[in-house]
Assembly symmetry: C3
Homo-oligomer: 199 residues x 3
């Protein structure tokens, strides 16, 4: 644990490994989690048991990274994002074992690395798999178990393998409407949360 | 490890974290697993490496919780259940990051928490994802990699995303019949296991 | 850590558990990973954080086993294979809890155990689930999030649940062609890698 982290009131479970000096105030890191040097985690985040955050990852404030989620280099997580348990990010569209002779050319540069962004307030359900190079829009929701292979529009619910658009959701978590063939995108106001609207 | 656990002949791997005082006789907990205070685990269970059992979870006797499975508050596991490796339970149908301002209302109460039950002798295959609020019937079998979004009937095999009914299975693990369109539920006797029948 | 391993220049993270004496030269084992006694890992491999390698597993040289992958007894991995993060192997087609009375007959012998082989240079994407008893061909590629229920032919890309053939790929990671209905298997030469061809 970095000394700076202690000063900033970070909680790090005794079994966790935090090698980064860039973990924000009031963030909590739970058992057997590992945050590598060069990763950046914002303030008031929670990183669950067995989570892995690689060098190069950037996480904003107020994010929740649940148990056993794996975030690799190239992943950027905005403020207020929920990453469910066992979510797996990726950063290589056609991986080969870098130490095998037939694949060494591929890993001579960083051209293989595709970045992934998750927008403010979005949620990714348990066990979802995020293919590399996608952007997941603000306040969208990826259903548990989805395989996301394309960008997800803001405030949109996607589900399935590959993930397809299913409906619209408010930032407060209230489902606004389900898509049908007849009317694709008429958005009613959120009955629960008057402060929020879809731009 | 609770002192009481030692007396009851519980095996806890030196790297495991067992904060619960309610782990039954002859249960084994393997490396890097974490059982939180307030969870209840029965007798003669096995909890594999990197598994996570949250406060509020109840597990019966003779259950097998394989490696890296994640059981959250609200999950109840009956006697003799098999939870495969990397199975992910959930308890919130529309999760948001609880520490984000736009979602705090959602987490002011426990209304978001949906319970999940797995019946006696059921099996859940590797990497299956169980959406919140479902009941998985006695002696049923969820195929590896399924996403379970609805209740599963007793002795029924389900598979896919979302999981659909595929056949019937005996409690001993013998497949009894595969469903076709013509005859949905005629159940032959189990050729292998005479003791068992589907009610 | 075995003394022999130290002599062979194996790196083992202080939090990893390596009980096997059969880990090859220059292999690296990262945090919270567990390699059981009786597993065999070749030279110049990397085993990522939270990975689990059970007794009976055999891994060749130059393989990459990414974070949180689970390899169980019966799994054989050839040289130069890439196993992505969170990949889950299985070895029992109809698992029941072995300690439950109704299932003890099933586990009296080892007949339940089905072996799985991954051929030289193949890649398995993040979070893929490999059903027991399949053979994954040399230099093939399993897309992230797939559920593999049948054998995969050499140099073939498969994806989906269940995984279906999608195209052909070179050993260097260059996609050669996507299958269409009209022409199934005409293979053009690899534009990038002149050394390689599909047999």
């Amino acid at each position: 644990m970095a000394e700076g982290s202690q000063r900033r009131n970070v909680f790090i479970h005794p079994t966790a490994l935090v090698e980064s000096n860039d973990v924000g105030d009031e963030t909590k890191v739970w058992a057997f989690a590992h945050i590598m040097a060069g990763a950046r985690v914002g303030r008031r985040c929670v990183v669950g048991d067995h989570a892995f955050i690689e060098s190069g990852v950037v996480i904003g404030d107020d994010a929740t990274i649940k148990n056993a989620s794996l975030l690799f280099d190239g992943v950027t997580i905005a403020d207020g994002v929920f990453i469910g348990p066992g979510v797996q990010f990726t950063n290589d569209a056609r991986p080969r074992s870098p130490r095998a002779k037939f694949a060494m050319d591929r890993y001579g540069t960083r051209d293989w690395l595709l970045p992934t962004c998750v927008g403010t307030g979005a949620s990714i359900g348990a066990g979802a798999i995020i293919l590399p190079g996608v952007t997941i829009g603000t306040f969208s929701m990826v259903a548990a178990g989805s395989v996301v292979s394309r960008d997800v529009a803001p405030h949109t619910v996607v589900k399935g393998t590959p993930a397809r658009e299913h409906g619209l959701i408010c930032r407060c978590g209230t489902e606004l409407r389900t898509f049908s063939r007849l009317s694709q995108r008429t958005v009613p106001p959120c009955a629960k949360c008057r402060l929020c609207s879809i731009p």
